[in-house]
């Protein structure tokens, strides 16, 4: 089953409808992205300007890093609601740690958020508790920890001007910020790990059919622990990047980010039931979300609240299409 889902055999006898379904499933977000970008390019002269494209890429990079981890978790059939809190916590910890230099600013969020992710993974894998509820608890816990560090949210740690850590988020190459390249490299690496390594195969097998995977000797528990830890580390890292870019650990970010991340992963064609999905699709999902947001901003007269209406409607359309096109187990 899993093998079929990950690498569908391209037999000519395959019915056309199924082929269309599979293309739409896997490339739907990419096709929609191309259409939306083309429309935006033609309709709004400012859309194609280098400045706008740079902003777009930069804004997308933070969410892409978080959604990358979420992709792994969702392919194992799980879900991680704690990423938004961990994202905010990572930013605060990075700003807090920056007083001791670059390494502290980078490692503190990775270690703490990774540790919380590890606990998520241990609880999910070893006790059989539902991922939904475990990560809901750590959503609350991470927010609480963040408030505890920041005197109940009243202190915003600044990153000292001239700190080497600021380069990470604010440095540019060809006008594009470092986070864009970092996110691209991470997604490329993530995609390769998912498709080309034994660990990646374990991730698919765990989500595809957990019982069979266990019987085949796939280290299901270890795989789950690994993906939740990865998701925690990546969320913390995205927070660190954001803090570096904003020059401070903003305490109020990340509320609802877990829903953004889940939406873009689903829009990117990853099935919430697990066992199928791609990193490329997730990246397309991130792009699509932010291009639509950009268009709404360009129109200007439109209430910015339409953004979430459009996102919700879009998510719905994608899920309904997925449901009607793809035959599920």
């Amino acid at each position: 089953m899993t093998a079929q889902m990950t690498a569908p055999p391209e037999t000519p006898a395959k019915p056309r409808r199924e082929l269309v379904a599979s293309v739409l499933q896997r490339q739907g977000a990419a096709i929609a992205l191309v259409v939306v970008v083309a429309v935006a390019w033609l309709a709004f002269p400012r859309f194609g300007s280098p400045d706008n494209l740079r902003d777009l890429a930069l804004q997308s990079s933070f969410l892409a890093v978080i959604a990358l981890g979420m992709t792994f978790v969702i392919i194992t059939g799980g879900i991680d609601l704690s990423v938004g809190s961990l994202y905010a916590l990572g930013g605060v910890l990075a700003a807090y740690g920056s007083q001791w230099g670059f390494l502290a600013a980078l490692l503190l969020p990775l270690l703490v958020c990774g540790a919380i992710g590890l606990v998520n993974g241990l609880l999910v894998a070893r006790t059989g508790m539902a991922p939904f509820i475990v990560t809901l608890a750590s959503l609350l816990f991470a927010r609480g920890l963040l408030l505890a560090i920041t005197d109940e949210g009243s202190t915003t740690y600044q990153i000292a001007p001239g700190s080497a850590f600021l380069e990470l988020g604010r440095g540019t190459v060809f006008g594009f910020g470092y986070p864009v390249f970092i996110a691209a490299a991470l997604c490329l690496l993530g995609g390769l790990v998912l498709r080309r390594t034994r660990f990646g195969q374990s991730v698919f097998a765990t989500g595809g059919a957990e019982q069979s995977a266990l019987l085949m000797g796939v280290p299901v528990a270890r795989t789950k622990i690994a993906v939740y830890t990865l998701s925690g580390v990546l969320s913390g890292f995205a927070g660190a990047l954001t803090a570096s870019y904003l020059q401070s650990g903003v305490t109020v970010i990340g509320v609802g980010t877990e829903l953004d991340a889940i939406s873009v992963v689903v829009i990117g064609g990853t099935l919430l039931t697990g066992g199928a999905g791609t990193v490329l699709g997730t990246v397309m999902g991130v792009g699509l979300r932010n291009v639509i947001q950009n268009i709404i901003n360009q129109i200007g007269t439109l209430d910015s609240n339409y953004q979430s209406v459009v996102s919700g409607a879009f998510l719905l359309v994608v899920v309904v299409l997925q449901r009607s096109l793809v035959r599920r187990r």
């Binding site: 505890a148 339409y306 209406v309 919700g312």
Partner: protein, 315 residues
């Protein structure tokens, strides 16, 4: 052997009565150590604060009983709140009716996605969570609207027989929902669908209609909570009302001993779950522990509650 048996028995007991024991323990602790705890004013405040969560949690308990979840309850509250100022000119009754209708539509929409299109509850309701609040803000032009209709505001300030209206509504709804689950065919069907959907289909139960009804009811209850919260706030605030309500409601249901795997609904447990979480928060605040600690304690309680409840899945 006997130790293992005792352990199983302890777990069983905790699953059944853990939430009641915790509430009693916290009450005793507060009576002994918290100044001014045993005052009518304090109980009023606690109950008034807990009422909206309780109403939402009732609907959530039903949805979770069908092995589903409704993430959109907070957004539904915002939708209900955003409609009230638009129709309040015609009087409180039409305004409330429109708000409840919005809840009914939102819930029916969720139910349709889950029951007839077969979309997972978590995604189906996620779409409305993302879009619903945005829609509410669009309706309200992103503004907080102060309300001045005295009849409507009375819902948030008046007492009936010495009990605040919101608390009374929550109590009555809890009894009604408990009767619905325990005494009606619909309630039986709901539990059966949650326990084993395939068996429900084979037994000839109207599985889809039951699911549709459960989500619709959850939407209406969320709208009721939205109306009451709006009245208490004396303003329609779609940006803030019911924010993270889905999490509070799910927490209360789970802490109250309703398993996430469906097939069982505990209404009294859910109400006690709401009371427990409210008491925990109040206790921490009264002892000057900050919000950060409160959230971390809440997280720990969720984990412990689900850990204890988990062995029930072997039923």
């Amino acid at each position: 052997m006997t130790i293992a048996l005792d352990r199983a028995r302890t777990t069983r007991w905790l699953q059944e009565y853990g939430v009641y024991a915790a509430v009693v323990a916290l009450l005793l602790f507060n009576i002994a150590f918290t100044a001014n705890f045993l005052s009518v004013g304090n109980f009023r405040t606690q109950l008034v604060q807990a009422a909206p969560v309780c109403i939402v949690a009732l609907g959530m308990a039903l949805v979770i009983g069908t092995e589903g979840v409704d993430l959109s309850v907070g957004a539904t509250m915002a939708l209900a709140a955003s409609l009230i100022p638009l129709y309040l000119g015609a009087g409180p009754a039409p305004a409330i009716a429109m708000a409840l209708l919005a809840g009914l539509l939102a819930g029916t929409f969720n139910g349709f996605l889950v029951a007839y299109l077969g979309i997972q509850p978590i995604v189906a309701t996620l779409a409305l969570l993302v879009g619903g609040r945005g829609l509410a803000l669009v309706i309200a032009n992103g503004q907080l609207v102060q309300l001045h209709d005295p009849a409507f505001l009375a819902l948030g300030t008046e007492d009936v027989l010495g009990v605040p209206v919101g608390v009374l509504v929550a109590g009555v709804l809890a009894v009604l929902v408990a009767l619905l689950v325990g005494r009606t065919t619909f309630g039986r069907a709901l539990v059966a669908v949650g326990g084993n959907r395939a068996a429900g289909v084979l037994a000839g139960l109207p599985v889809r209609r039951v699911l549709l009804g459960v989500y619709a009811l959850c939407g209406v209850l969320a709208a009721v909570a939205g109306v009451l919260s709006t009245a208490r706030l004396s303003a329609s605030d779609p940006a803030d009302i019911g924010l993270l309500m889905e999490l509070s409601a799910i927490t209360a249901v789970v802490v109250g001993g309703t398993p996430l795997t469906g097939g069982r609904v505990r209404i009294l447990g859910t109400v006690m779950g709401v009371v427990l979480m409210q008491l925990v928060r109040a206790t921490l605040i009264k002892h000057n522990l900050p919000d950060s600690t409160a959230q971390m304690v809440q997280a720990a309680i969720i984990v412990v509650a689900v850990y204890v409840a988990r062995e029930r899945s072997s039923r």
